[in-house]
Symmetry: C2
Subunit: 222 residues, 2 copies
Amino acid sequence: MGEMSEQKRPATRADEIRQVIEKEIFQGNLRPGTRLDEESLAARFGLSRTPVREAILQLVFSGLVVKKPRQGAVVAPLDLHRMVQMFEVMSEVEGLCARYAARRMSPDEKTNLADLHGKAARMCEARDLDEYYAVNRAFHDAIYDGSHNEVLQEMARSLFARLAPYRRYQLNHPHRVDGSFAEHGEVVAAIAAADPDRAQAAMRKHVTIQADIFAEFVSIMS
Amino acid sequence: MGEMSEQKRPATRADEIRQVIEKEIFQGNLRPGTRLDEESLAARFGLSRTPVREAILQLVFSGLVVKKPRQGAVVAPLDLHRMVQMFEVMSEVEGLCARYAARRMSPDEKTNLADLHGKAARMCEARDLDEYYAVNRAFHDAIYDGSHNEVLQEMARSLFARLAPYRRYQLNHPHRVDGSFAEHGEVVAAIAAADPDRAQAAMRKHVTIQADIFAEFVSIMS
DNA sequence: AAGGCAAAATTTGTGTGCAAGATGCCGAAG
DNA sequence: CTTCGGCATCTTGCACACAAATTTTGCCTT
Protein backbone atom coordinates (compact mmCIF):
# COMPACT_ATOMS: atom_id res chain seq x y z
CA MET A 1 0.00 0.00 0.00
CA GLY A 2 2.62 2.54 1.01
CA GLU A 3 4.74 1.16 -1.80
CA MET A 4 6.61 3.72 -3.74
CA SER A 5 9.03 1.64 -5.75
CA GLU A 6 7.54 -0.19 -8.66
CA GLN A 7 10.36 -2.45 -9.71
CA LYS A 8 8.14 -5.46 -9.81
CA ARG A 9 9.91 -7.83 -12.15
CA PRO A 10 12.99 -7.14 -14.20
CA ALA A 11 11.83 -10.01 -16.34
CA THR A 12 13.65 -8.83 -19.42
CA ARG A 13 16.95 -7.04 -19.86
CA ALA A 14 15.33 -4.15 -21.65
CA ASP A 15 13.16 -3.49 -18.60
CA GLU A 16 16.22 -3.60 -16.37
CA ILE A 17 17.98 -1.00 -18.44
CA ARG A 18 14.88 1.16 -18.60
CA GLN A 19 14.56 1.19 -14.83
CA VAL A 20 18.21 2.12 -14.39
CA ILE A 21 18.08 4.97 -16.89
CA GLU A 22 14.78 6.13 -15.43
CA LYS A 23 16.32 6.26 -11.99
CA GLU A 24 19.34 8.17 -13.23
CA ILE A 25 17.12 10.72 -14.88
CA PHE A 26 15.12 11.15 -11.68
CA GLN A 27 18.24 11.52 -9.59
CA GLY A 28 19.68 14.08 -11.93
CA ASN A 29 22.67 12.00 -13.03
CA LEU A 30 21.33 12.25 -16.55
CA ARG A 31 20.45 15.87 -17.16
CA PRO A 32 17.82 16.97 -19.65
CA GLY A 33 19.39 17.32 -23.07
CA THR A 34 21.94 14.57 -22.50
CA ARG A 35 22.35 12.38 -25.52
CA LEU A 36 21.64 8.67 -25.11
CA ASP A 37 24.01 6.80 -27.35
CA GLU A 38 22.89 3.24 -27.97
CA GLU A 39 26.34 1.79 -28.40
CA SER A 40 27.93 3.30 -25.32
CA LEU A 41 24.93 2.32 -23.20
CA ALA A 42 25.15 -1.20 -24.61
CA ALA A 43 28.83 -1.33 -23.73
CA ARG A 44 28.15 0.01 -20.25
CA PHE A 45 25.55 -2.64 -19.48
CA GLY A 46 27.46 -5.40 -21.23
CA LEU A 47 24.62 -6.04 -23.65
CA SER A 48 23.93 -5.51 -27.30
CA ARG A 49 22.18 -2.51 -28.79
CA THR A 50 18.86 -4.32 -29.16
CA PRO A 51 17.65 -4.28 -25.52
CA VAL A 52 19.09 -0.79 -25.09
CA ARG A 53 17.11 0.30 -28.09
CA GLU A 54 13.90 -1.12 -26.69
CA ALA A 55 14.52 0.50 -23.33
CA ILE A 56 14.97 3.86 -25.02
CA LEU A 57 11.76 3.34 -27.00
CA GLN A 58 9.88 2.74 -23.77
CA LEU A 59 11.33 5.89 -22.27
CA VAL A 60 10.32 7.83 -25.36
CA PHE A 61 6.73 6.75 -24.93
CA SER A 62 6.77 7.56 -21.24
CA GLY A 63 7.81 11.09 -22.23
CA LEU A 64 11.13 11.13 -20.42
CA VAL A 65 13.12 10.93 -23.64
CA VAL A 66 12.63 12.46 -27.05
CA LYS A 67 13.91 11.00 -30.25
CA LYS A 68 14.08 12.43 -33.72
CA PRO A 69 13.78 9.79 -36.48
CA ARG A 70 17.38 9.38 -37.56
CA GLN A 71 19.00 11.66 -35.12
CA GLY A 72 19.24 9.78 -31.90
CA ALA A 73 17.64 10.13 -28.49
CA VAL A 74 18.18 12.71 -25.77
CA VAL A 75 16.77 13.12 -22.28
CA ALA A 76 13.72 15.32 -22.75
CA PRO A 77 15.01 18.88 -22.61
CA LEU A 78 13.35 21.45 -20.40
CA ASP A 79 10.63 23.13 -22.38
CA LEU A 80 9.25 25.96 -20.28
CA HIS A 81 6.01 26.20 -22.20
CA ARG A 82 5.36 22.51 -21.83
CA MET A 83 6.39 22.47 -18.18
CA VAL A 84 3.78 25.07 -17.37
CA GLN A 85 1.15 22.97 -19.10
CA MET A 86 2.27 19.86 -17.28
CA PHE A 87 1.99 21.57 -13.94
CA GLU A 88 -1.45 22.83 -14.89
CA VAL A 89 -2.60 19.31 -15.70
CA MET A 90 -0.80 17.92 -12.67
CA SER A 91 -2.76 20.21 -10.38
CA GLU A 92 -6.02 18.99 -11.88
CA VAL A 93 -5.06 15.33 -11.78
CA GLU A 94 -3.79 15.45 -8.23
CA GLY A 95 -6.85 17.41 -7.26
CA LEU A 96 -9.02 14.66 -8.71
CA CYS A 97 -7.04 12.01 -6.87
CA ALA A 98 -7.61 13.86 -3.61
CA ARG A 99 -11.30 14.27 -4.41
CA TYR A 100 -11.79 10.58 -5.03
CA ALA A 101 -9.57 9.70 -2.09
CA ALA A 102 -11.78 11.73 0.21
CA ARG A 103 -14.74 9.68 -0.92
CA ARG A 104 -13.15 6.27 -1.18
CA MET A 105 -10.25 5.82 1.21
CA SER A 106 -10.72 3.06 3.73
CA PRO A 107 -10.10 3.77 7.43
CA ASP A 108 -6.81 1.87 7.16
CA GLU A 109 -5.72 3.95 4.23
CA LYS A 110 -6.57 7.13 6.08
CA THR A 111 -4.57 6.04 9.09
CA ASN A 112 -1.64 5.23 6.85
CA LEU A 113 -1.88 8.66 5.26
CA ALA A 114 -1.94 10.33 8.65
CA ASP A 115 1.10 8.30 9.68
CA LEU A 116 2.97 9.44 6.62
CA HIS A 117 2.08 13.00 7.42
CA GLY A 118 3.37 12.48 10.95
CA LYS A 119 6.63 11.10 9.63
CA ALA A 120 6.88 14.11 7.32
CA ALA A 121 6.45 16.35 10.36
CA ARG A 122 9.58 14.88 11.93
CA MET A 123 11.57 15.19 8.71
CA CYS A 124 10.40 18.75 8.33
CA GLU A 125 11.42 19.61 11.86
CA ALA A 126 14.80 17.91 11.44
CA ARG A 127 15.28 19.81 8.17
CA ASP A 128 16.15 16.54 6.46
CA LEU A 129 15.35 17.53 2.88
CA ASP A 130 16.23 14.22 1.24
CA GLU A 131 14.07 12.23 3.62
CA TYR A 132 11.27 14.75 3.36
CA TYR A 133 11.40 14.37 -0.39
CA ALA A 134 11.07 10.59 -0.05
CA VAL A 135 8.16 10.84 2.38
CA ASN A 136 6.58 13.45 0.15
CA ARG A 137 6.53 11.00 -2.70
CA ALA A 138 5.06 8.30 -0.48
CA PHE A 139 2.41 10.78 0.63
CA HIS A 140 1.32 11.60 -2.87
CA ASP A 141 1.45 7.94 -3.81
CA ALA A 142 -0.85 7.09 -0.95
CA ILE A 143 -3.38 9.59 -2.25
CA TYR A 144 -3.08 8.24 -5.78
CA ASP A 145 -3.82 4.79 -4.42
CA GLY A 146 -6.65 6.22 -2.36
CA SER A 147 -8.44 7.35 -5.50
CA HIS A 148 -9.14 3.66 -6.14
CA ASN A 149 -8.89 4.33 -9.86
CA GLU A 150 -5.92 2.66 -11.51
CA VAL A 151 -6.16 4.69 -14.70
CA LEU A 152 -6.05 7.93 -12.76
CA GLN A 153 -3.18 6.55 -10.68
CA GLU A 154 -1.16 5.77 -13.77
CA MET A 155 -1.70 9.25 -15.12
CA ALA A 156 -0.67 10.84 -11.86
CA ARG A 157 2.42 8.70 -11.52
CA SER A 158 3.43 9.32 -15.11
CA LEU A 159 3.14 13.07 -14.62
CA PHE A 160 4.94 12.88 -11.29
CA ALA A 161 7.78 10.99 -12.95
CA ARG A 162 8.07 13.44 -15.79
CA LEU A 163 8.16 16.37 -13.39
CA ALA A 164 10.51 14.71 -10.91
CA PRO A 165 13.74 15.94 -12.53
CA TYR A 166 12.63 19.53 -12.01
CA ARG A 167 10.62 19.24 -8.83
CA ARG A 168 13.83 18.76 -6.90
CA TYR A 169 14.93 22.30 -7.63
CA GLN A 170 12.18 23.87 -5.61
CA LEU A 171 13.32 22.16 -2.43
CA ASN A 172 16.24 24.52 -2.37
CA HIS A 173 13.85 27.17 -1.22
CA PRO A 174 14.61 27.01 2.49
CA HIS A 175 11.12 27.68 3.79
CA ARG A 176 9.32 25.73 1.12
CA VAL A 177 9.19 22.53 3.18
CA ASP A 178 7.19 24.26 5.88
CA GLY A 179 4.68 25.52 3.34
CA SER A 180 4.50 22.15 1.66
CA PHE A 181 3.95 20.42 4.97
CA ALA A 182 1.19 22.82 5.95
CA GLU A 183 -0.59 22.33 2.64
CA HIS A 184 -0.35 18.58 3.08
CA GLY A 185 -2.02 19.05 6.43
CA GLU A 186 -4.98 20.72 4.75
CA VAL A 187 -5.34 17.80 2.39
CA VAL A 188 -5.08 15.23 5.17
CA ALA A 189 -7.73 17.03 7.18
CA ALA A 190 -10.11 17.28 4.25
CA ILE A 191 -9.70 13.60 3.41
CA ALA A 192 -10.13 12.62 7.05
CA ALA A 193 -13.35 14.62 7.07
CA ALA A 194 -14.40 12.92 3.82
CA ASP A 195 -14.87 16.32 2.20
CA PRO A 196 -14.18 15.88 -1.54
CA ASP A 197 -14.50 19.54 -2.52
CA ARG A 198 -12.11 20.73 0.16
CA ALA A 199 -9.65 17.92 -0.54
CA GLN A 200 -9.63 18.71 -4.23
CA ALA A 201 -9.22 22.44 -3.67
CA ALA A 202 -6.44 21.96 -1.13
CA MET A 203 -4.49 19.62 -3.36
CA ARG A 204 -4.94 21.82 -6.41
CA LYS A 205 -3.64 24.76 -4.45
CA HIS A 206 -0.69 22.73 -3.19
CA VAL A 207 0.41 21.75 -6.68
CA THR A 208 -0.28 25.20 -8.07
CA ILE A 209 2.06 26.70 -5.52
CA GLN A 210 4.73 24.25 -6.57
CA ALA A 211 4.16 25.28 -10.16
CA ASP A 212 4.52 28.95 -9.28
CA ILE A 213 7.77 28.31 -7.47
CA PHE A 214 9.02 26.35 -10.42
CA ALA A 215 8.06 29.12 -12.82
CA GLU A 216 9.86 31.60 -10.61
CA PHE A 217 12.91 29.37 -10.63
CA VAL A 218 13.10 29.04 -14.38
CA SER A 219 12.55 32.75 -14.85
CA ILE A 220 15.64 33.32 -12.74
CA MET A 221 17.61 30.72 -14.65
CA SER A 222 16.86 32.19 -18.05
CA MET B 1 -7.18 23.18 -37.19
CA GLY B 2 -10.01 20.72 -37.57
CA GLU B 3 -7.38 18.11 -38.22
CA MET B 4 -8.23 14.72 -36.89
CA SER B 5 -5.71 12.50 -38.62
CA GLU B 6 -2.33 12.50 -37.01
CA GLN B 7 -0.25 10.62 -39.53
CA LYS B 8 2.39 13.28 -39.50
CA ARG B 9 5.53 11.41 -40.44
CA PRO B 10 5.78 7.78 -41.41
CA ALA B 11 9.48 8.43 -41.05
CA THR B 12 10.30 4.94 -39.88
CA ARG B 13 8.82 1.59 -40.80
CA ALA B 14 7.93 0.80 -37.22
CA ASP B 15 5.72 3.89 -37.08
CA GLU B 16 4.03 2.86 -40.30
CA ILE B 17 3.18 -0.54 -38.91
CA ARG B 18 2.01 0.94 -35.64
CA GLN B 19 -0.39 3.26 -37.40
CA VAL B 20 -1.81 0.43 -39.48
CA ILE B 21 -2.34 -1.86 -36.50
CA GLU B 22 -3.75 1.03 -34.51
CA LYS B 23 -6.26 1.70 -37.25
CA GLU B 24 -7.25 -1.93 -37.48
CA ILE B 25 -7.85 -2.06 -33.76
CA PHE B 26 -10.01 1.05 -33.94
CA GLN B 27 -12.00 -0.28 -36.85
CA GLY B 28 -12.60 -3.56 -35.12
CA ASN B 29 -10.68 -5.69 -37.60
CA LEU B 30 -8.44 -6.69 -34.73
CA ARG B 31 -10.67 -7.64 -31.84
CA PRO B 32 -9.57 -7.40 -28.21
CA GLY B 33 -7.81 -10.59 -27.25
CA THR B 34 -6.41 -11.25 -30.70
CA ARG B 35 -2.86 -12.47 -30.58
CA LEU B 36 -0.25 -10.41 -32.40
CA ASP B 37 2.32 -12.78 -33.82
CA GLU B 38 5.55 -11.03 -34.73
CA GLU B 39 6.51 -13.34 -37.54
CA SER B 40 3.19 -13.35 -39.37
CA LEU B 41 2.95 -9.58 -39.08
CA ALA B 42 6.48 -9.27 -40.43
CA ALA B 43 5.56 -11.51 -43.36
CA ARG B 44 2.40 -9.53 -43.99
CA PHE B 45 4.22 -6.20 -44.16
CA GLY B 46 7.18 -7.64 -46.01
CA LEU B 47 9.58 -6.61 -43.26
CA SER B 48 11.65 -8.28 -40.61
CA ARG B 49 10.56 -8.87 -37.05
CA THR B 50 12.56 -5.94 -35.71
CA PRO B 51 10.32 -3.04 -36.81
CA VAL B 52 7.22 -5.13 -36.05
CA ARG B 53 8.55 -5.68 -32.58
CA GLU B 54 9.13 -1.99 -32.07
CA ALA B 55 5.66 -1.17 -33.31
CA ILE B 56 4.16 -3.63 -30.83
CA LEU B 57 6.22 -2.12 -28.03
CA GLN B 58 4.83 1.29 -28.84
CA LEU B 59 1.30 -0.07 -28.81
CA VAL B 60 1.96 -1.70 -25.46
CA PHE B 61 2.96 1.64 -24.00
CA SER B 62 -0.05 3.36 -25.50
CA GLY B 63 -2.20 0.79 -23.69
CA LEU B 64 -3.83 -0.72 -26.76
CA VAL B 65 -1.85 -3.94 -26.46
CA VAL B 66 -0.75 -5.99 -23.49
CA LYS B 67 2.26 -8.21 -23.45
CA LYS B 68 3.36 -10.79 -20.92
CA PRO B 69 7.17 -11.17 -20.76
CA ARG B 70 7.72 -14.34 -22.74
CA GLN B 71 4.22 -15.00 -23.78
CA GLY B 72 3.56 -12.74 -26.70
CA ALA B 73 1.30 -9.76 -27.27
CA VAL B 74 -2.46 -9.56 -27.59
CA VAL B 75 -4.85 -6.71 -28.29
CA ALA B 76 -5.82 -5.43 -24.86
CA PRO B 77 -8.78 -7.53 -23.80
CA LEU B 78 -11.93 -5.94 -22.47
CA ASP B 79 -11.59 -5.55 -18.74
CA LEU B 80 -14.90 -4.31 -17.40
CA HIS B 81 -13.43 -3.01 -14.17
CA ARG B 82 -10.80 -1.04 -16.03
CA MET B 83 -13.26 0.22 -18.63
CA VAL B 84 -15.40 1.76 -15.93
CA GLN B 85 -12.37 3.49 -14.49
CA MET B 86 -11.33 4.73 -17.91
CA PHE B 87 -14.73 6.23 -18.54
CA GLU B 88 -14.63 7.85 -15.13
CA VAL B 89 -11.30 9.49 -15.92
CA MET B 90 -12.43 10.29 -19.45
CA SER B 91 -15.39 12.26 -18.12
CA GLU B 92 -13.06 14.32 -15.92
CA VAL B 93 -10.49 14.89 -18.63
CA GLU B 94 -13.02 15.87 -21.26
CA GLY B 95 -14.72 18.05 -18.69
CA LEU B 96 -11.45 19.84 -18.08
CA CYS B 97 -10.88 20.28 -21.80
CA ALA B 98 -14.28 21.88 -22.12
CA ARG B 99 -13.61 24.10 -19.10
CA TYR B 100 -10.35 25.39 -20.51
CA ALA B 101 -11.86 25.66 -23.98
CA ALA B 102 -14.59 27.90 -22.63
CA ARG B 103 -11.93 30.22 -21.29
CA ARG B 104 -9.38 30.03 -24.06
CA MET B 105 -10.95 29.32 -27.43
CA SER B 106 -10.42 32.05 -30.00
CA PRO B 107 -13.41 33.40 -31.96
CA ASP B 108 -12.23 31.43 -34.98
CA GLU B 109 -12.08 28.23 -32.98
CA LYS B 110 -15.55 28.84 -31.63
CA THR B 111 -16.93 29.36 -35.12
CA ASN B 112 -15.25 26.18 -36.26
CA LEU B 113 -16.79 24.31 -33.37
CA ALA B 114 -20.22 25.66 -34.20
CA ASP B 115 -19.74 24.64 -37.83
CA LEU B 116 -18.86 21.11 -36.77
CA HIS B 117 -21.97 21.01 -34.64
CA GLY B 118 -24.00 22.17 -37.61
CA LYS B 119 -22.53 19.44 -39.78
CA ALA B 120 -23.36 16.94 -37.05
CA ALA B 121 -26.94 18.18 -37.13
CA ARG B 122 -27.25 17.21 -40.78
CA MET B 123 -25.67 13.80 -40.20
CA CYS B 124 -27.96 13.25 -37.25
CA GLU B 125 -31.00 14.15 -39.29
CA ALA B 126 -29.88 11.95 -42.16
CA ARG B 127 -29.28 9.10 -39.71
CA ASP B 128 -25.83 8.63 -41.19
CA LEU B 129 -24.17 6.90 -38.25
CA ASP B 130 -20.74 6.46 -39.80
CA GLU B 131 -20.48 10.09 -40.76
CA TYR B 132 -21.85 11.20 -37.43
CA TYR B 133 -19.18 9.14 -35.73
CA ALA B 134 -16.50 10.89 -37.81
CA VAL B 135 -17.87 14.36 -37.09
CA ASN B 136 -18.23 13.41 -33.45
CA ARG B 137 -14.54 12.69 -33.28
CA ALA B 138 -13.72 15.98 -34.99
CA PHE B 139 -15.98 17.75 -32.50
CA HIS B 140 -14.22 16.32 -29.49
CA ASP B 141 -10.85 16.96 -31.11
CA ALA B 142 -11.75 20.60 -31.61
CA ILE B 143 -12.49 20.92 -27.92
CA TYR B 144 -9.24 19.18 -27.00
CA ASP B 145 -7.41 21.70 -29.17
CA GLY B 146 -9.44 24.48 -27.64
CA SER B 147 -8.04 23.70 -24.22
CA HIS B 148 -4.75 25.14 -25.47
CA ASN B 149 -2.89 22.65 -23.31
CA GLU B 150 -0.98 20.05 -25.26
CA VAL B 151 -0.44 17.75 -22.30
CA LEU B 152 -4.14 17.64 -21.59
CA GLN B 153 -4.81 17.10 -25.29
CA GLU B 154 -2.49 14.12 -25.40
CA MET B 155 -4.19 12.58 -22.41
CA ALA B 156 -7.62 13.08 -23.90
CA ARG B 157 -6.61 11.65 -27.26
CA SER B 158 -4.92 8.68 -25.67
CA LEU B 159 -8.03 7.89 -23.65
CA PHE B 160 -10.25 8.46 -26.66
CA ALA B 161 -8.14 6.04 -28.67
CA ARG B 162 -8.21 3.37 -26.00
CA LEU B 163 -11.97 3.64 -25.69
CA ALA B 164 -12.63 3.84 -29.42
CA PRO B 165 -12.92 0.07 -29.98
CA TYR B 166 -15.82 -0.03 -27.53
CA ARG B 167 -17.37 3.37 -28.06
CA ARG B 168 -18.66 2.21 -31.41
CA TYR B 169 -21.00 -0.26 -29.78
CA GLN B 170 -23.14 2.40 -28.19
CA LEU B 171 -24.02 3.91 -31.53
CA ASN B 172 -26.19 0.91 -32.14
CA HIS B 173 -28.62 2.43 -29.74
CA PRO B 174 -31.00 3.96 -32.30
CA HIS B 175 -31.89 7.12 -30.40
CA ARG B 176 -28.48 7.66 -28.89
CA VAL B 177 -27.36 10.00 -31.65
CA ASP B 178 -30.16 12.43 -30.82
CA GLY B 179 -29.16 12.47 -27.19
CA SER B 180 -25.50 12.82 -28.06
CA PHE B 181 -26.26 15.69 -30.41
CA ALA B 182 -28.35 17.49 -27.83
CA GLU B 183 -25.61 17.15 -25.21
CA HIS B 184 -23.09 18.51 -27.68
CA GLY B 185 -25.37 21.47 -28.11
CA GLU B 186 -25.19 22.21 -24.39
CA VAL B 187 -21.42 22.16 -24.54
CA VAL B 188 -21.29 24.41 -27.59
CA ALA B 189 -23.60 26.91 -25.96
CA ALA B 190 -21.60 27.00 -22.75
CA ILE B 191 -18.34 27.48 -24.62
CA ALA B 192 -19.87 30.16 -26.81
CA ALA B 193 -20.98 31.93 -23.63
CA ALA B 194 -17.47 31.48 -22.20
CA ASP B 195 -18.94 29.77 -19.15
CA PRO B 196 -16.31 27.33 -17.86
CA ASP B 197 -18.41 25.77 -15.10
CA ARG B 198 -21.31 25.05 -17.39
CA ALA B 199 -19.08 23.75 -20.17
CA GLN B 200 -17.31 21.40 -17.80
CA ALA B 201 -20.54 20.14 -16.27
CA ALA B 202 -22.17 19.61 -19.66
CA MET B 203 -19.22 17.70 -21.04
CA ARG B 204 -18.86 15.58 -17.92
CA LYS B 205 -22.49 14.68 -18.15
CA HIS B 206 -22.17 13.84 -21.84
CA VAL B 207 -19.32 11.41 -21.24
CA THR B 208 -20.94 9.98 -18.14
CA ILE B 209 -24.02 9.11 -20.16
CA GLN B 210 -21.85 7.34 -22.68
CA ALA B 211 -20.24 5.43 -19.83
CA ASP B 212 -23.62 4.39 -18.49
CA ILE B 213 -24.70 3.14 -21.89
CA PHE B 214 -21.48 1.24 -22.22
CA ALA B 215 -21.95 -0.31 -18.80
CA GLU B 216 -25.45 -1.30 -19.77
CA PHE B 217 -24.11 -2.85 -22.95
CA VAL B 218 -21.52 -4.98 -21.24
CA SER B 219 -23.96 -6.09 -18.58
CA ILE B 220 -26.14 -7.43 -21.36
CA MET B 221 -23.20 -9.10 -23.06
CA SER B 222 -22.04 -10.95 -19.97
C1' DA C 1 -7.97 -44.20 -18.76
C1' DA C 2 -5.95 -40.34 -16.45
C1' DG C 3 -2.21 -37.79 -14.82
C1' DG C 4 2.46 -36.38 -14.85
C1' DC C 5 6.95 -35.93 -16.87
C1' DA C 6 9.88 -35.20 -20.68
C1' DA C 7 11.18 -33.75 -25.13
C1' DA C 8 10.23 -31.19 -29.29
C1' DA C 9 8.44 -27.27 -31.50
C1' DT C 10 7.00 -22.65 -31.66
C1' DT C 11 7.78 -18.08 -30.22
C1' DT C 12 10.01 -14.44 -28.00
C1' DG C 13 14.45 -12.15 -26.44
C1' DT C 14 19.14 -10.91 -27.71
C1' DG C 15 23.43 -10.58 -30.56
C1' DT C 16 25.54 -9.15 -34.87
C1' DG C 17 26.16 -7.29 -39.50
C1' DC C 18 25.05 -4.19 -43.11
C1' DA C 19 23.00 -0.26 -45.37
C1' DA C 20 20.82 4.27 -45.39
C1' DG C 21 20.47 8.76 -43.62
C1' DA C 22 22.43 12.69 -41.11
C1' DT C 23 25.96 15.71 -39.36
C1' DG C 24 30.28 17.98 -39.70
C1' DC C 25 34.37 19.25 -42.11
C1' DC C 26 37.00 20.77 -45.75
C1' DG C 27 37.76 22.81 -50.01
C1' DA C 28 36.53 25.71 -53.74
C1' DA C 29 34.10 29.52 -55.75
C1' DG C 30 31.99 34.07 -55.49
C1' DC D 1 36.11 36.47 -46.01
C1' DT D 2 31.94 34.17 -46.52
C1' DT D 3 29.08 30.66 -48.39
C1' DC D 4 27.79 26.63 -50.85
C1' DG D 5 28.61 21.95 -52.27
C1' DG D 6 30.61 17.42 -51.92
C1' DC D 7 32.83 13.89 -49.11
C1' DA D 8 33.91 11.29 -44.92
C1' DT D 9 32.39 9.48 -40.68
C1' DC D 10 29.27 8.26 -37.31
C1' DT D 11 24.82 6.71 -35.65
C1' DT D 12 20.60 4.84 -36.27
C1' DG D 13 17.26 1.55 -38.69
C1' DC D 14 16.53 -2.91 -40.42
C1' DA D 15 17.58 -7.79 -41.61
C1' DC D 16 19.14 -12.08 -40.14
C1' DA D 17 20.81 -15.66 -36.91
C1' DC D 18 21.13 -17.75 -32.47
C1' DA D 19 19.69 -18.67 -27.74
C1' DA D 20 16.34 -19.06 -24.05
C1' DA D 21 11.85 -20.06 -22.52
C1' DT D 22 7.26 -21.48 -22.61
C1' DT D 23 3.75 -24.33 -24.39
C1' DT D 24 2.19 -28.37 -26.43
C1' DT D 25 2.32 -33.03 -27.47
C1' DG D 26 3.28 -37.70 -26.81
C1' DC D 27 4.75 -41.38 -24.03
C1' DC D 28 5.12 -43.77 -19.88
C1' DT D 29 3.53 -44.91 -15.43
C1' DT D 30 0.03 -45.71 -12.04
